[in-house]
């Protein structure tokens, strides 16, 4: 990424023709298409799109070569808490002569988003303070000084840094809500002030009523020139955001746990998704097979499954690809019988192939969503999708990988 002053990411909102002719077109369909690009022009990221959640800097199961060569993962979410250890005061990544990107050897065709905590975060024993966030390291809880996070943003130079939100573990009471807003605003101001490397910043939007954070939103409007995007911890707020903030891309950290929920958030105007179900389904041994909007071909009126549980014995000798018609590496070269064999043998390659495949299904899902919005058929296509596919993923039956840290809920 070029690091010249004022450099960074530019979001070009190409909000498609709003369902032109249709009278009901406006409604709550705020779906939008955009392109997020580095001013240098090396990496671009079309929205709506997904980002993959990394664990310790790696997309689970994917070594850099598989991530680079076999997936279209355009952005990865990395949490600083994955790089801080409980017992060492020293944090190796801070001492790396170059950037976080270099430390984790991140593929050059993918964006790197840094946040203090994983998403969703594991509940910590301690609470945040004005100057620190409670985090979980690989061996236990500790606190991360927000100062350290600000310094890390400047030295690690991610493509995007999310300013720390103050998120309590329980629904905030009468006093906690205002405190969340206060700290989040305080920390954002501090990050902007200390952003010596001009790292593009996403400001958090808290999971509170919009009225409760109205002063904070005013603050965002004032500092809009210092912001590159918004990180939404409650996706519904996308429709209530002030007009002045409309030009900023919206990253949802409010987990859309099914494709239908993704579509709903897209219709609210969410641009980027931290897609937790990707690795969840992979770990469960489920091969995704949905498309957007999908074709209703079943005569019996039954809805199609969103994925196939490859633990199911009936695939033990199936030489079919993981999903019919899929062009990903796993489907071109391998078959269901092999993945089942690997799953039952608890061999790591099972999850490698599933992750390659599932990420391709999800990439294609978002390509089709963008086309649909551009064509002005998004609302109709969402209805089709809801008619064709089941709402929930298949029930998980098998065991996950032997180790995976820290496990997502």
């Amino acid at each position: 990424m070029a690091a010249a002053a004022n450099s960074g990411m530019v979001f070009d909102l190409r909000t498609a023709r709003r369902t032109g002719g249709s009278a009901s077109g406006g409604g709550d369909d705020s779906a939008r298409v955009g392109r997020f690009a580095a001013t240098g022009g090396v990496v671009s990221f079309d929205t709506p799109n997904f980002i993959a959640h990394a664990s310790r800097g790696a997309v689970p199961h994917l070594s850099g070569d598989n991530l680079r060569d076999h997936t279209d993962v355009g952005a990865v979410y990395v949490a600083l808490e994955d790089f801080v250890e409980k017992w060492h005061p020293n944090v190796p990544v801070y001492n790396h002569p170059s950037t976080l990107r270099d430390f984790i050897s991140h593929p050059s065709n993918s964006l790197l988003i840094l946040a203090p905590r994983r998403s969703p975060p594991v509940t910590t024993a301690a609470s945040n303070t004005d100057a620190s966030i409670a985090i979980l390291t690989s061996v236990g809880f500790r606190v991360l000084k927000v100062d350290d996070y600000f310094n890390a943003v400047s030295s690690l130079k991610p493509d995007i840094a999310i300013s720390p939100p103050d998120l309590p573990h329980q629904t905030p009471g009468k006093n906690r809500g205002p405190k969340m807003v206060f700290r989040t605003e305080l920390w954002l101001g501090e990050l902007i002030k200390r952003n010596t490397s001009n790292v593009p910043i996403f400001a958090p939007i808290l999971p509170l009523d919009i009225e409760q954070q109205s002063y904070y939103l005013d603050h965002l409007k004032e500092h809009i020139s210092s912001l590159t995007g918004l990180a939404l911890y409650d996706a519904r707020l996308a429709v209530e955001l002030p007009e002045e903030l409309e030009g900023l891309p919206r990253l949802s950290l409010d987990d859309a746990l099914t494709p239908l929920k993704v579509l709903q958030q897209v219709s609210w105007g969410v641009d980027m998704f931290n897609l937790v179900f990707l690795t969840q389904m992979t770990d469960a041994g489920i091969s995704l097979e949905f498309q957007f909007p999908g074709e209703a071909t079943t005569k019996d009126g039954k809805k199609k499954a969103l994925g196939v549980d490859l633990w199911n014995k009936e695939y033990g000798t199936s030489l079919e690809p993981l999903a019919a018609g899929c062009k990903c590496y796993a489907c071109r070269k391998h078959h269901r019988a092999y993945v089942q064999h690997l799953l039952t043998a608890k061999e790591m390659t099972a999850w490698v192939l599933l992750q390659i495949h599932n990420s391709n299904i999800v990439s294609n899902f978002f390509i089709a969503i963008r086309e649909s919005i551009t064509q002005g058929t998004f609302e109709k296509d969402c209805k089709t999708f809801a008619e064709v596919y089941k709402e929930e993923f298949p029930e998980k039956t098998g065991h996950g990988p032997r180790y995976h840290f820290p496990s997502l809920p």
């Binding site: 664990s55 310790r56 800097g57 790696a58 997309v59 689970p60 199961h61 994917l62 070594s63 850099g64 070569d65 598989n66 680079r68 060569d69 076999h70 997936t71 279209d72 790089f83 060492h88 020293n90 190796p92 990544v93 001492n95 790396h96 002569p97 270099d102 430390f103 984790i104 050897s105 593929p107 050059s108 690989s138 033990g316 000798t317 030489l319 990903c328 590496y329 070269k333 391998h334 078959h335 019988a337 092999y338 089942q340 064999h341 690997l342 039952t344 043998a345 061999e347 790591m348 390659t349 999850w351 490698v352 192939l353 990988p401 180790y403 995976h404 840290f405």
Partner: protein, 459 residues
């Protein structure tokens, strides 16, 4: 003792061609091209172990990218899972794992004895209790070969009676050796049966061909550390004229001097025109000395297993990357290594050192395809330290490097043999491996190589 007389022995077809390319003028090291049913490989050769039809998180193309064209599967494991019926239905192990190159399988006997405490060996075979339901089962030589036929491996191993070389019971050792010879005959008999797939489009050949036309049975020399017994076994087994010969029962905790004597004795007696495979050897020092003793092929789980514990095999020895000293070491795992893990990010793959092997399957992919590129990853020791034992990706990349290191070590040894400078290669290897400290050289290696007039300690 019952031994088949030569007269009743059927001649054994070979599905491989061993082409000797060069011989070291000082040691017994040799370089060859071994042409197998799924393409040529070059010896000296290290074969990584993909126990259950996969190598610890690596895709077949990642293995291809580091030059692997022959790996092991374990018959015992594939026989249990996915099982013979599924293998038959799918059409063998190559199809199961989408591996277009060669596979070698063991007989399954070693796993039974090492993994199952209640295995007993009788003349019929290895009796054991099913790990699934505890019912008594029997692995006979015939059944082992039949399983390996279903797997379809390019090199298959006879069932042998394996006991620890360190066993003091000479009588039991002799019994094991004699039994292994008798079992070899039963394996040959089974292997010469008509292959029902012969003559089909997929498997080629002519209807009525035996399995021996597309799979190579290797005998396994037994006899513990008793050189006389080893000699007898070599002579008897060589008569059976299998396409290749393995030296078995080693690498089980015997003294390295004894190990070297056994390999040296066997290679001197074995026919020149066949590949020699020393089973279970894969530690770099053992490999380079065994090559000097005239062995061609090796397999071992050590490098891939140790990778999962965070150990990197490098030209300067084994590094435990879990150690805090690597937390901020931002250099490549082995700066001399040319594998994708160690090369700088996105640097193009260099040509493989082996000139004769088939190109990787992904090389012929159409332009614009999301094919494997083999480009560099620019991984540092610090990043592996950060990942190891916490994310499986750490295991994947270190496994890939360790396999690449051993394959590359074999290639470098091969080039040295071809250029007739193997003694210099040995000196260079030991010097780097021990960081220049000759005091650390193992005595057995120094003594063994001195036997060839190679003095590792001289400057």
């Amino acid at each position: 003792m019952l031994k088949t007389s030569m007269a009743t022995m059927k001649s054994m077809p070979s599905a491989l061609k061993y082409e000797l390319i060069a011989r070291c003028s000082t040691t017994k090291a040799r370089a060859s091209i071994l042409r197998l049913p799924h393409g040529p490989v070059e010896t000296p050769l290290f074969m990584p172990v993909a126990t259950q039809g996969t190598l610890k998180g690596l895709t077949p193309e990642q293995l291809e990218s580091v030059g692997c064209r022959l790996y092991l599967n374990n018959t015992y494991h594939l026989g249990l899972r996915p099982g013979q019926a599924v293998l038959d239905k799918i059409g063998g192990a190559h199809k199961l794992q989408s591996w277009s190159h060669n596979i070698l399988t063991d007989s399954g006997g070693f796993q039974m004895v090492s993994l199952l405490q209640l295995a007993t060996v009788t003349e019929k075979g290895v009796e054991f209790l099913s790990p699934h339901d505890g019912t008594p089962m029997l692995l006979t030589p015939e059944h082992s070969i039949s399983l390996q036929h279903s797997i379809g491996s390019d090199i298959i191993m006879q069932l042998d009676d394996v006991i620890a070389t360190t066993s003091p019971d000479k009588q039991r050792m002799k019994e094991a050796m004699d039994r292994s010879i008798r079992w070899l005959d039963r394996c040959v008999e089974e292997h010469l049966k008509v292959d029902p797939l012969a003559g089909t489009e997929e498997f080629g050949g002519v209807e009525g061909d035996s399995y021996a036309k597309r799979q190579n049975l290797f005998c396994i020399i037994q006899g513990g550390l008793d050189l006389e017994m080893r000699k007898e076994c070599c002579e008897e087994m060589a008569k059976r004229d299998t396409p290749g010969i393995a030296i078995g029962g080693l690498s089980g905790g015997e003294a390295k001097d004894d190990y070297c004597k056994v390999v040296d004795t066997c290679t001197s007696l074995l026919p020149d025109g066949k590949p020699r495979y020393v089973m279970g050897v894969g530690y770099p020092e053992d490999l380079v000395v065994s090559i000097a003793l005239g062995a061609d092929m090796f397999d071992c789980v050590w490098a891939t297993r140790t990778a999962r514990f965070g150990n990197a095999v490098t030209s300067s020895g084994v590094l435990n990357l879990r150690s805090a000293i690597y937390a901020e070491d931002f250099t490549a795992v082995d700066p001399e290594c040319q594998c994708p893990v160690c090369r700088p990010l996105d640097s193009p793959a260099p040509p493989l050192l082996n000139s004769t092997i088939s190109p990787p399957s992904y090389a012929s992919a159409p332009e614009g395809d999301d094919s494997y590129t083999g480009k560099g990853l620019g991984i540092t020791k610090a990043y592996i330290h950060h990942l190891v034992a916490k994310e499986t990706v750490g295991a994947h990349i270190l496994t890939m490097h360790n396999v690449a290191f051993l394959l590359s070590l074999m290639n470098k040894a091969r080039i040295a043999i071809v250029e007739d400078r193997y003694p210099a290669f040995l000196k260079d290897f030991f010097f780097k491996w021990h960081g220049g400290d000759k005091g650390k050289y193992p005595t057995w290696a120094v003594d063994t190589l001195r036997g060839f007039g190679v003095d590792l300690l001289e400057d």
